[in-house]
């Protein structure tokens, strides 16, 4: 009996090993191809001839994917399948938030891309401007006047004479106008390029004669964000002002998740506008 039992056990293990053996040699992975339905379009590209303009700006939207349809809105609303189809360049003659999104019969729609082009409402070139502290020597462009020259830089901050870069815990900009100006909003054009240790400021405050007129706090400045330029708007008590002071406070230190954690972030500004 014992003998027969052993044979039975041996046979059992043989079968197990054969099965395992077969499994190992045929272990090539099953191929599952990605289907159209799980493929997503990339967001379209928006190209404008000028982000700041006096009369008008020309905006192009493109995504060179066969069968893709580009749709857009100009009022800041979400782009849907019912939004207008982009066919030719758009002429924008006032401050506009252009949003665009790509659709395709086979693929998932893209994320929405958004870009604001801004009309210069008041020419500040004759104003007096003083900045404390001075920008870093490497990123000082044409000095303080750079911020009111009506010229905007691209997110490639090393290109051209547009961006002033600061590594300071507080930046103060004093503007004196030849004649009092009716002002209800101050707009600061800034850069976010976290790979280059450039972050959006945390707080901006506008004052005149020592009186605070308005301020804005950016809660999202600590968060990871892709490289982009941004217009930060500070609504102020509407009145006629002959001088304004803008105080910019960067975050105290670069957040924990970043390689530069704890150090003073860079702040980059290329233009200040009033409306």
């Amino acid at each position: 009996m014992a003998y027969r039992k052993n044979i039975g056990v041996a046979f059992f293990w043989c079968v197990i090993f054969m099965c395992l053996g077969t499994r190992v040699t045929s272990q090539s992975k099953q191929v599952t191809y990605l289907t159209n339905s799980s493929l997503k379009l990339a967001a379209p590209i928006i190209q404008v001839d000028s982000l700041l303009f006096k009369n008008s700006a020309l905006a192009k939207v493109l995504l060179r994917q066969d069968g893709a349809e580009l749709r857009y809105t100009l009022d800041g609303s979400e782009v849907s399948v019912g939004s207008p189809i982009y066919e030719s360049p758009l002429e924008l003659d006032k401050t506009t938030q252009l949003r665009a999104k790509a659709f395709h019969p086979d693929y998932q729609p893209s994320e929405t891309i958004s870009l604001t082009t801004r009309q210069i409402q008041k020419d500040l070139r004759t104003a007096e401007i003083q900045i404390q502290p001075k920008p870093s020597e490497t990123y000082s462009a044409s000095g303080a006047k750079t911020l009111i020259d009506g010229q905007k830089g691209s997110p490639n901050f090393r290109q051209g004479n547009f961006w002033l870069g600061f590594q300071a815990s507080k930046i103060s900009v004093a503007l004196n106008f030849e004649q009092p100006k009716e002002i209800k909003k101050v707009v600061v054009s800034v850069l976010n390029d976290q790979d280059s240790w450039i972050f959006l400021p945390q707080k901006l405050m506008v004052s005149a004669s020592g009186k605070t007129l308005g301020s804005v706090t950016l809660d999202g400045c600590h968060e990871k964000q892709t490289k982009h330029g941004d217009f930060l708007e500070i609504a102020i008590i509407p009145d006629a002002y002959s001088e304004l002071t803008l105080k910019i406070a960067p975050m105290e230190g670069i957040p924990e998740w970043h390689a530069g954690k704890g150090t003073t972030p860079w702040t980059f500004i290329d233009e200040i506008l009033i409306e």
Binding site: V31, T32, N36, S37, I45, R64, Q65, P105, D106, T226
Partner: protein, 326 residues
């Protein structure tokens, strides 16, 4: 107006990417492994050996080298001493194959057997007189000519190309950082272009400039191939074509990239994941990503069936993707 955006019959079909003669189906899960057992950080480069195995180099020091079969089954894993594992080149020397690993952190190139035994180390090229210390030398790639000469591109360092003989003696140094045609911004990848046996040249990517530059074997600049919008990593020659993983595209935004394929005339003919290539007055229209398949492709390996294996940088530790040519 809305009818074209309704779901098509093709919605549930296998996706096919690329253009013209070079179109592919996608297996995103090809290289997936048990993340705890065989982790990866950046999947930097891949080569295929004579046995048909696909060899991946990652900068994860639990297993710098992962060796797969073509179906994606793991066959071998080794290497814990390459924290800056970046460039991987395979070279057949009289029937025996060797790997050349360009290590960014170690500032040197290491030659090993396919089993991981170190054969030779090429330290920072002090003898060129161009380097004050090893930190100025951050090699990204190697290429080996048929006579055994070794070319190293210092793509994250001082942008020189260092040319050694097969014994490791310095023969030449060329390139360097700058805007002139023969200089580089990010001389990231290098290969020997022997498609025309009578005119063998060196191809070097100037990644930040979106250019592929051609040099003689002696280091004289010939010309550049412009690929606007394509941040090309390393050229890979297969039959008559050049394949280049393109790590960023368009304006260089995060999450972009595609694969670039050039024909025998060095014309971009297919861009899987990218926009349709089109030349206007012999100039390539700027390229951009159109489908979100890839996230920063860093290298492409081409097998004998002309299927592609794509290794990606900074893509949340994802494993290589396989593209099947259709």
């Amino acid at each position: 107006m809305g009818s074209t955006t309704a779901l098509s019959h093709d919605y549930f079909k296998d996706a096919i990417i690329g253009h013209g003669s070079h179109r592919y189906k996608i297996d995103m899960a090809w290289g997936e492994l048990n993340r705890k057992q065989f982790p990866v950080k950046d999947c930097h480069e891949m080569v295929q050996d004579a046995k048909g195995r696909i060899i991946l180099l990652t900068n994860h020091t639990q297993n710098n080298v992962l060796i797969y079969d073509k179906s994606g089954k793991l066959l071998d894993a080794w290497g814990k001493e390459y924290p800056g594992a970046h460039g991987l080149t395979l070279h057949d020397e009289n029937g025996e194959e060797f790997l050349y690993i360009a290590d960014n952190d170690r500032h040197e190139v290491i030659k090993t057997t396919l089993e991981g035994k170190v054969v030779q180390i090429f330290p920072y090229p002090k003898e060129t007189g161009k380097y004050e210390n090893k930190e100025a030398y951050i090699p990204t790639e190697t290429a080996i000519a048929s006579n055994g000469d070794l070319y190293v591109s210092d793509g994250y360092g001082s942008q020189y190309i260092i040319h050694y003989d097969s014994q490791g003696n310095l023969k030449n140094i060329f390139g360097g950082q700058g805007d002139e045609p023969h200089l580089f911004h990010n001389a990231h990848g290098i290969c020997i272009d022997d498609r025309d046996p009578k005119n063998v040249v060196v191809l070097i990517t100037a990644r930040q400039q979106n250019k592929l530059k051609r040099f003689t074997l002696e280091g004289d600049y010939i010309d550049s191939i412009d690929l606007p919008g394509a941040y090309i990593c390393r050229p890979v020659i297969h039959n008559k074509h050049i394949y280049l993983a393109t790590i960023w595209s368009g304006d260089g935004s995060e999450g972009t990239g595609f694969i670039s394929i050039l024909d025998e005339n060095n014309t971009l003919v297919s861009a899987p994941g990218g926009s349709t290539p089109k030349y206007e007055n012999e100039t390539l229209r700027p390229m951009h990503q159109t489908l979100r398949v890839f996230r920063h492709p860093h290298d492409v390996c081409v097998d004998e069936d002309e299927n592609l294996y794509v290794a990606q940088w900074n893509s949340w530790g994802t494993y290589p993707i396989k593209l099947y040519r259709v």
